[in-house]
Amino acid sequence: MYTRWNTLVLCLFISLFMVCQPAAANERTIVFASDATWPPMEFVDDQKNLVGYAIDMVRAIAKEGGFKVEIKNTAWDGIFAGLAAGKYDAIASSVSITETRKKSMDFSEPYYTVRQALIVRKDSSITNLADLKGQKVGGQIGTTGYFTIKAAKDLEAKSYDEIGLAMEDLNVGRLAAVICDDPVAADYALKRYRDTLKIVQIIEGDTAEQYGFAVNKGNDEVLALINQGLAAVKAKGIDKELQQKWIGQ
């Protein structure tokens, strides 16, 4: 009986070690989180693969920077909490660099510049933000698009978990407009809902809005690796190729 227990415990330990063994010790793996509901920057294609501008960008940076990369599809609401909790090393999810965010995380060099776009239905007569007095305007929770709605006066702001849900609500007429980053707005208004939605205004902010990769405050090791790879990607002009591939113009 005694020996049988010993064998069992031994087996358990062995299997535990096999599970815990690191895949490859020689190359550093950096785990990125990405909310893949933000086409064309990061989304899931019909083959269930994570694809998009930012996904290709991260892979290119990893190649240039000499590290391995793993991308976790993570819901947007809570993506920053997960970073703080150490569930992943960095966020590659079209995170705009803002002063508020800089207080709780560090950012890489910017990799893309965006503006906020106002989307309405094709049959709508609204042409700018001022026309929307008292009406319902939607955006994704915790995004700069939603903050723009909140900052505008006399709007009823509605926050959604995913931008796609807001677009659908705009499509069926529960919202008067949606505000989000312009590449995403273009993807929805020119592709997915090209028969029903249109972009009417690009809202110019006081400062340029740029995407960066977010890491925990003080995680200089990962930040340096990302920045180093990003510099190489820019020097080789890969970012231009990706822009052509995913966004056009």
Binding site: D77, G78, F80, A81, A84, T100, S104, G138, I141, G142, F147, K158, S159, Y160, D161, L165, A166, E168, D169, V172, G173, R174
Partner: protein, 264 residues
Amino acid sequence: MTEPERHGTQIHVGDGAAIPHRGDRGLVSAWWIAFIGALTLLVLLPLYKPDPYLAIIRFIPDGILITFQVTISSIVLAIAIGLLTGLGRISRNRCINLIASLYVEVVRGIPLLVQLFYIYFALGRIVRVPDIVAAIIAMAFCYGAYMGEVFRAGINSIDRGQAEASHSLGFNHSQTMRYIILPQAWRTILPPVGNEFIALLKDTSLVSILAVSDILRRGREYASESFNYFETYTIIALVYLLITLILSKGISIMEHRLGHYERR
């Protein structure tokens, strides 16, 4: 002659007094501890650390209002649907019975979250309803099925003799139901309806996925802007706890009053 020595395990035969009964004064009331604890925290936290706790508490009141609005509208609708379904389930009319039974089987077999998505987004393409109305319809539709079962059980709990006596007095089927059965069944039905009410209130947190600005949605909006996840969700949990504690106390008082007439 000496008494035989006692060895081994002894079994004491008691009268069940070791199990405390409800309302035993020797028991510490878990309800009071939870209630006072939640209330104290909700008052002290903002006083002790106004930033961010006070800001959070200022941010969510309209969410509480929406939560109540959804809860109360849905429960009223669900009780109406439940009554009809309960009556349908005991109906001898095959068609009505089938419809009611089918409704209960289908709705109970689909998760509430899926129903919410279905009514809001799938049916949204066909019929356009405002978000809050869609939420109320979905909640009432789901809870109507649960209520139907509660009503059916309540009606079935009334002794058959009551109906027979009523018929022999010349009451027809619907009069029997209305004047004899339902008034008695109500006592059995009310306590589980109260529990469903609390369950429904907690489940309304699911409607936050439909961009309905309830307590949870407001909290998430705050947290997503300030990154104060711990503080925000602490307050949200405490607010829900306080509301459900007050409701559960109300329901147990109601149960007690009903029990007053019922002692048999």
